[in-house]
Symmetry: C2
Subunit: 303 residues, 2 copies
């Protein structure tokens, strides 16, 4: 078996975008994706698909890109690479639901290669409930664990810890949500290992709409009022803070003339800020806040 | 005449906060400031005053702080300083009005000193109209120019250019608003020069409520509808992007365990994002967008 070329990986990831979009349209039941193609002056381009007129999803996108060309200096410096021609392909997703009872979700799978053969895979899925529901958190982590375990039993504990560290708002001392998995710089030692890591990213791609469809349909009909919408606005504010202040991909993209609209596709439709907001100690909101911590094992969680 | 001590500057800036708050309460006509005192573990503290129940101002604050102690490594590295005891005092203001016809405004004056005598002043005022009104922009810049000119005729052109460069969203290729003035690292050569720079910052402090009261009262009664509110939401989104992605003070504060709530006092009450929003070419919104550029001389502007 020979190793997949970068062109083949671009095709496979493009198909994954298509697969996920179809599945999300079915899961939402009403919305469709609007297609926005773009090209990159220095090489490559992408297709950003923007969700619209959804029943459950208010704003979101599924972005595919495959870019290449001389490695910009800021990028080679940051990655510790010699100058040369790079290639990068990936699928990125953020979905913001109308209902505060449905969680925000994010997924990314990506592949990076230099002309000298240096290469790696990266990615992750993480869930940001406006209101943490331990049962949903356990379901989400169980699904991630099963997928990880089918490749390598060391993946889930390692990548779960990595997500806890990565999706963290240092200035709030809060995790973004209940975490998930995050991995980066996964390089192959052999051709079959390469295929395995690629397959792992594709398994995550297929898992994503399955998991989110379950969470949408389980929670979208739960009643809510203005109080819950206000809380959603504040949590969306935190999502904005994470993405603009701490998210390495976002910061880096904006600083290296990435495609702004595709990068900021992750922004919520609306967000709110209130000075020193503190929920009542016994409220659902306070329950959520005290669970925005690193290191919670949702699989064995007991309240 | 001997040079003012850091303790005296702290007192003077605290009085300036008081002065500005009183003047803004009078200008708004209804709102009052809620006082929030805080202390810094490693030395010093501050008082954040949060505007509430305003007629014109929806969310905003006037923050005073005077902090001191061993210089955190990240700060001395960034400023290119030897380790030692630092002192920093300042007043920071951001005001977000209800009406999209009233501009957002920001002001900051600050003083920094090391135990070895190294010291400097910094500050600035800039205006972010949701809708650019050339007459208001000319008024604003004229007032800034007069104040600058009464100290040094080189100040206004220099500090106006600095503001154009500083208040710039690189990833949008947009200025935050119509600029204003920005200065930093203004050090004194003699005691009388020190007094002069201090006086300059105080002149800006006194100018601030005068200018903003004029702009509030001129524009707060202009009718607007949902379309203008939606545009305001998008412009507030850009304000969030500037502050969290590019503003040196914000980024630095969040990264060095600054007081998060006081730093993020600058966030609007609410903000919105729409994928690839583009106003109609002949609209007021498009007029604003094409004027979010560096180097516009508002004092001699003709449409």
């Amino acid at each position: 078996m020979s190793r997949k070329s970068k062109e083949e990986i671009a095709v496979i990831y493009k198909q994954m975008q298509e697969y996920i979009c179809k599945a999300l349209e079915a899961g939402d039941g009403t919305g469709t994706f609007k297609v926005d193609n773009w090209t990159r002056e220095a090489g490559g381009g992408g297709q950003t698909r923007i969700f619209q007129d959804g029943a459950i999803i208010e704003k979101g996108g599924v972005a595919f890109s495959a870019v290449h060309g001389p490695t910009p200096k800021k990028i080679s410096n940051k990655l510790g690479l010699e100058p040369g021609i790079f290639f990068a392909a990936g699928v990125s997703i953020v979905l913001h639901p109308f209902s505060p009872m449905v969680p925000i979700i994010h997924m990314n799978i990506r592949y990076f290669e230099m002309e000298d053969g240096t290469h790696w895979f990266g990615g992750g899925i993480d869930l940001t409930p406006h209101y943490i529901v331990p049962e949903d958190a356990a379901y989400f982590h169980q699904k991630l664990k099963e997928t990880c375990d089918s490749f390598d039993p060391s993946y889930y504990p390692k990548f779960k810890g990595w997500a806890d560290s990565y999706f963290f708002l240092k200035h709030r001392q809060e995790t973004r949500g209940i975490g998930g998995i995050f991995y980066d710089r996964l390089s192959a030692t052999t051709d079959s290992h390469f295929q395995e890591i690629l397959d792992f990213s594709l398994a995550l791609g297929r898992l994503f709409p399955e998991v989110y469809t379950h969470l949408m349909q389980k929670n979208a009909r739960i009643p809510f009022g203005l109080e819950q919408k206000a809380w959603q606005g504040l949590r969306r504010g935190r999502y904005v803070e994470f993405n603009l202040v701490w998210d390495a991909g976002t910061k880096f993209g904006l600083d290296t003339n990435g495609r702004t609209e595709s990068i900021l596709m992750s922004m919520p439709p609306q967000a709110e800020w209130v000075y020193q907001h503190e929920p009542l100690p016994t409220s659902e909101e306070a329950f959520t806040l005290i669970h925005l911590k690193k290191g919670i094992d949702w699989l064995s969680y007991t309240p």
